[in-house]
Structure formats: C-alpha cells, structure tokens
Amino acid sequence: MRLLYYPGCTLYSKAQNLDRCGRKTAERLGVTLDELPSWNCCGAIFNTGSDDLAGQVGPVRVLAKASQLGDKLVTLCAACYNVLKRARARLDAPGNKLERQRIVEFLDEKMERDVKVVHYLEVLKQDIGWEAIRSRVVMPLHNLKVASYYGCLMVRPREVLDFDDPDNPMVMDELVATLGGEPVRFEFKTECCGGYLVVNRREVAEGCSMRVVDNARNWGAELIVTTCPLCQYNLEIAQKRGRAEAQIVPVLYFTQLLGLALGLPQKDLGFEDNKLDPVGFLKEKGLL
C-alpha cells in the first residue's frame, strides 16, 4: 500500500524522530508513505478571522498539490491534521463560495479532486488493522502503563475533524493495548498542553502541561505518548524545568513506541532528540 504523506515543517527538523519512526514503522507494516513533492508549510495553526484569506492559501495549496496525485493525504503531526482538515471544511462551506473562488483563482495549482486528510493513527486502525500490527510485535510492552495524550488539535472542532470520540478518544489507547501495553484511563486526554503560549507566556503553558502530566501520573501512568511535536515538547520541558527526577514521567511519540515494539533498531528511534532521556527508563522496564 502506498499513501501520500505530508510531514509538515516541524517533522523535518525538530521532530525528526516522529517522522522517521512513522515512515519506518509504516514500511514494517507494509505501507509506503510517499512524501508529497514540493510541499509548503500548512501554517501550524488555523486562522479563523472571516476575512483572513491569506491564511488559507498555505493549507489549500497543500491540498491542491495532493489532489493532483491522489485522494488521501496522511499526516503524522496533529497540528497539520487540524489545519488541513479545517481548511478543507472552510473551503467547502456553503456560505463561502466567494472566498473559495478567490483562493482557487489565486493559486496556480488546480484542485483536481477532493482530498481526504487522515492521521497516521487512523491508517493504523483502519487500513492496517490491529491484528496485523499485533502479529508483527517483536518487543511486547510487558503491560507498561501508558497514558495516551491526544491534546486538543486532534479532536476539536468536533464536527470538522470527526475523529474518534471527542470526549474520550481511544484509538491511541487501542494501539497501546495492541503493542502489549496497558492503556491508562486518565481525565486529561484532550486538555490543552498550553500550545504556542510557550513562546511568550511560558509559565502559563507549563501550568497546563504539568496538570496533564500530574493527572496521568495520578492514574498510574509510567509513560505518556503524544502525537504532536508541540505537545511532546511542552510536556517534556515543563517536567524538565519543574520536577525532580524521581517524579518525571517520560514522554514519547506514539511512533517511537510503535517502532520500539516492532523492533526498529535503537538508532532509528531517535531517543537522543527527546528532552527527557527515556533510555534509562526503558532499559529498566526491559524494553531496550
């Protein structure tokens, strides 16, 4: 199976481990992620001003480029998933005909067909299937207690993203169970980590992230998995700055955990890019 893939700017630089593990685990599972040629940044956050057409150009161009090659586009980054899906919905909204016209005229690239934006988690569940993944696990996770943190961008706005159950999504938890881990039920699965506020109001973002981590820890989580580079960064850096080592809960991308379970070599898993080094913890748990 070959799927069109959109990495997004952060996966090219600060989140290469998320990207690398994503591609390599896909290969192991029989899926080739073909990178969209000459893609551009999606914009990282969706602009909602009703006259803000310039902000729509970036994501719509991505969709137009993708539409020339296929009808499905896979993302690994929750932010890209959010922006692309919302841009698509805004373009197609019945009251936005004039706006659609202006953007389409402005772009050189033609929108050949409707492109469905999917997240890699959806590919894992629907296109590959848990059974197929389970059969390829070489390092089961020994009932490691894992809290799956989805963050806000994966599930909201509900009607546009239509991703899982927005109050209690389970797809990542199901992946954890498939890999032999024990998914931990906690109450902050979709609460915001603070997002981009880390740039100008760091302490506010740290407060949000610490609440997520504390709740996961309260419920017995030994590890947290994320699907967004910003969530990953925020959860790690808040702990690095504000917590004693004994209380730290390591945070990994879900693709790193998947790669670990599928037996990717350690050099591919990209642990050196994690702010909180998980190697010691994973060795202790017998997973490395």
Partner: protein
C-alpha cells in the same frame, strides 16, 4: 480607533462569525478554559464586556492574548458560541493597527532554541502583525 463601540462589536461579530447576543452568560467557557485564572478577563466575562459595549476595555486587556485556541469553550457552550473566534477577532482589531504583541525580533532567548517551529509560526500568526 475612531469607531463607536457598536461599530467595533459589529466588526468583531463579522470577523468571528459569532453573535454576541447568543451568549446567556452561563460561565461554562470560563469554567473549562485550561488557562484558568491566568486569563483576565475569562471568556464569559470578555463576552459580557462586548455585550455592554465596553470594547476598548477588552481590547486593552491581557486575556485575549492568552488564548491557546484549544476550543473547549466553543465545544462546551450550550448556545454554540465559539469564544476562541471572538478572542481572535479582538486580537485582529488590535493587530491591524500595526501593533504586535509578540515581536519576532525580540522573542528568542536561548532556552527557546529547542521549541518546535510550529510553535513560533503559530504564535506569530496569532499575536504578531
């Protein structure tokens, strides 16, 4: 800004696609906002200010620059009012007077080196001219 408060509220409504009068001040948005007490005014209070025409007061407040666009407010609102869009409309009114709140030239201290660029792009898109 030499416009009347009514004109500004009307512009905020158009930019945000929300009707300020729809809000019945239940406070659920403020109750669920992850930013919590750091945001002053909190969402329901901000909308109240707009309902009362106290637009300048809201545009000069800090609260509208603390929204992370997590969308819990709009999701929980029993009247379907999306405060995140209203906050963004208020920010646009300020930004369009050529006033950046997060200045790209100033913002990068050493400990932000590892911040994923999506955070910078998003922050500048929301808070800079």
């Amino acid at each position: 800004m030499n416009r009347t408060p009514e004109e500004m509220v009307r512009e905020i409504e158009i930019l945000s696609g929300q009707r300020i009068a729809d809000c019945y001040q239940c406070g659920c948005c403020s109750a669920g906002c992850p930013i919590g007490t750091a945001m002053e005014p909190p969402p329901s209070k901000a909308i109240r200010l707009l309902q009362l025409g106290r637009v300048e007061e809201l545009l000069e407040s800090e609260g509208i620059w603390l929204c992370a666009s997590c969308l819990v407010c709009g999701t929980r609102c029993p009247r379907g009012v999306d405060y995140a869009r209203i906050a963004e409309a208020c920010r646009l009114l300020v930004l369009r007077t050529k006033r950046s709140v997060v200045d790209p030239d100033v913002v990068v201290p050493a400990d932000l080196e590892d911040v994923p660029q999506q955070a910078f792009i998003a922050s500048f898109r929301k808070f800079s001219v």
